[in-house]
């Protein structure tokens, strides 16, 4: 594996990590099902692509446009989420993928079935972007998204989202403005997915309608579940492990999807909380090995995980 190829893989993983960490805001904190993150990535990527190819916008100006467009779409889904609960919302978000893909395909502004191609490389001054520059920008964007999530966890808004997740009615009864907060979570989450889209478009250099369908959304949510719902570190771990998987299994390329599906199933069957979720085996193991550091986080002392959970105090 050449260094350049390794960098390409790392850029892909960092794009996934941005998507998963931002999805975590809606699914992990606010507890709303969302299987449309791939569609928001697509909206961001399409706006970035169209604006730079057809209107000659520079990469740096397409970023706020992509973020804004995806955020507006997130507002629409947030408004829908006020009316629909749980599984009805889950299936509606699935449907949203197909509607968005159909719009990309049939609205001439988005280039129809061929999509938009020959997206120019970004540049700083006279320096055109290489893969290493994409990686630097990707990691920078990821740092921003992680920073936002980290900060969110420490704000009243973040705490209110957790309350909405636990019990919406009770949250409303304690004076939390449920409707604007839910919409806010959707807007923030999808706007950050649009940020990933702004990087995706020039990196891949072409966008086509079918790149952003339901299967992409499934992969993103699967990464979050795999890593651990509601945990920033878990979200990143899920993106890294499942994102690297196709490369790790390249030598058995025929069985790649089989391996992907099986690993996902085994994880959710035997560790439904994911790698780094509450009371996960990984945390319990770390807690045993480094008890002092994680001791105060009460690693795995809750119910259900058996003898491993007690740990040496």
């Amino acid at each position: 594996m050449s260094l350049d190829y390794l960098i390409v893989v790392l850029v892909t993983i960092s794009i996934y990590a941005i998507l998963v960490v931002s999805l975590n805001i809606v699914v992990g904190y606010a507890g709303q099902p969302n299987l449309a993150q791939g569609a928001f990535l697509g909206i961001g990527a399409y706006f970035a692509a169209v604006l730079s190819v057809r209107y000659g916008w520079s990469f740096w100006w397409t970023i706020p446009a992509a973020v804004g467009a995806a955020g507006v779409a997130g507002f629409v889904l947030g408004a829908i989420s006020l009316r629909l609960r749980e599984d009805f919302l889950a299936v509606t978000t699935i449907g949203l993928n197909f509607v968005v893909v159909a719009i990309f395909q049939y609205v001439p502004f988005f280039g129809g079935a061929v999509g938009v191609y020959a997206i120019p490389l970004p540049s700083i001054g006279d320096h055109q972007f290489g893969n290493a520059d994409f990686l630097a920008v990707g990691l920078g964007m990821l740092a921003v998204v992680v920073g936002i999530s980290w900060y969110l966890e420490r704000t009243w808004f973040g705490a209110a989202l957790l309350a909405i997740k636990d019990d919406e009615t009770a949250a409303a009864a304690t004076g939390i403005p449920v409707a604007p907060y839910k919409i806010g979570a959707f807007v923030l989450s999808s706007a950050l997915a649009g940020l990933a889209g702004a990087l995706y478009a020039p990196f891949i250099s072409a966008v086509t309608p079918t790149s952003f369908g339901f299967s992409e959304s499934v992969v993103i949510l699967a990464m979050l579940m795999f890593g651990g719902l509601g945990v920033i570190g878990g979200a990143i771990a899920g993106a890294v492990v499942l994102g690297a998987l196709p490369e790790v299994f390249r030598f058995i390329s025929d069985y790649r999807l089989l391996a992907f599906g099986s690993i996902l199933v085994f994880m959710l069957r035997f560790q439904p909380q994911g790698l780094f979720g509450e009371h996960s085996a990984v945390l319990a193991t770390i807690g045993r090995v480094v008890p002092r550091r994680l001791g105060r986080r009460d690693a795995g002392s809750g119910p259900g995980r058996g003898p491993a959970s007690d740990g040496p105090a």
Binding site: L84, F88, F98, D254, L257, L258, L264, R269, P272
Partner: protein, 291 residues
């Protein structure tokens, strides 16, 4: 008028197929509150096993039975090994686990049966009918027959059998039902066996209707049946059948009268989202009917 009649017949054929495929996930949802995407793997498995059985024996009814049995076995395995251990884990874990099974199963089909399209040229000894000036093939007649009987059969299953009673009790309150002596494990197993067998029969019929069987043939049914069971009102199988017919008719009429303005599958979901915004719990919400 001719376009109307043929669209109506085709829409009902399509709707009957949808009903057959969506009944399993609908019964499962009512019972466990799980959106079971893996059910579509039963459809593909049924189509392949049915095709193998038909190639070996040349008997169409053997193809249907073999497909149904394969589906039943798969359904039993999936509930026992996958869903039952993760029942208390909220809705998203089983949904993603089911999607994982579905992805892995499609790859397994591709590796076992080959990546190419295989033809399924079975002729059924049923008369090709003339309905309102439109030709209806033998297999379409069979599908129509199933479509006509599926509604009363489901009603009978839910209202007149002890399994139906157990299903209704469990869907209202699993723990109370268990406390009243209902063997939940057996109810779940029976529902999965029935649901996957129905999907497998649907798979054989889809294969014969379009004369093709391929590894990813379950893709479109997998998510479209979700739209149908949500539209019908989650947890209400009779609503599911109604919604299946509605989606089948809407798709066929939109395509017949407006051409391919949008892909057929987007039409189903746009209809779904619009109807849900008016009726957020579907056409016939489950608990209204159960009580």
């Amino acid at each position: 008028m001719e376009v109307f009649a043929s669209s109506a017949v085709q829409g009902i054929v399509q709707g009957s197929l949808y009903a057959l495929i969506a009944l399993g996930p609908s019964l499962t949802y009512g019972l466990l509150r799980i959106l079971d995407v893996a059910n579509a793997a039963g459809l593909t498995l049924g189509a392949y096993v049915g095709l193998e059985a038909y190639s070996a024996t040349g008997q169409w009814w053997l193809a249907l039975i073999a497909g149904a049995m394969a589906g039943a076995v798969l359904g039993w395995l999936i509930q026992r090994l996958l869903y039952r251990p993760i029942l208390g884990r909220g809705p998203i874990v089983p949904l993603i686990a089911g999607i994982g099974v579905f992805i892995a199963a499609e790859e397994a089909f591709r590796l076992v049966f080959g990546p190419y399209n295989r033809t399924f040229a079975a002729t059924l000894p049923l008369p090709a009918l003339q309905v309102a000036g439109t030709q209806v093939t033998g297999v379409e007649t069979l599908i129509l027959l199933i479509g006509v009987t599926v509604f009363p059969a489901t009603w009978w299953l839910l209202r007149r059998t002890s399994l139906g009673l157990a299903w209704r009790a469990t869907s209202q309150d699993r723990e109370t039902a268990q406390a009243m002596g209902i063997n939940i494990g057996r109810v779940i197993a029976s529902i999965f066996v029935i649901g996957y067998a129905l999907a497998a029969v649907g798979g054989v019929l889809v294969g014969v209707t379009y004369n093709t069987v391929y590894p990813t043939m379950g893709d479109i049914p997998a998510y479209k049946m979700l739209a149908i069971i949500v539209l019908g009102g989650l947890g209400n199988p009779l609503g599911t059948i109604l919604a299946a017919m509605l989606i089948g008719l809407v798709e066929t009429f939109v395509v017949a009268y407006f051409g391919f303005v949008l892909p057929r599958d987007a039409i189903a979901f746009i209809a779904l989202i619009l109807i849900l915004l008016v009726r957020p719990r579907g056409l016939l919400p489950g608990d209204e009917v159960v009580q």
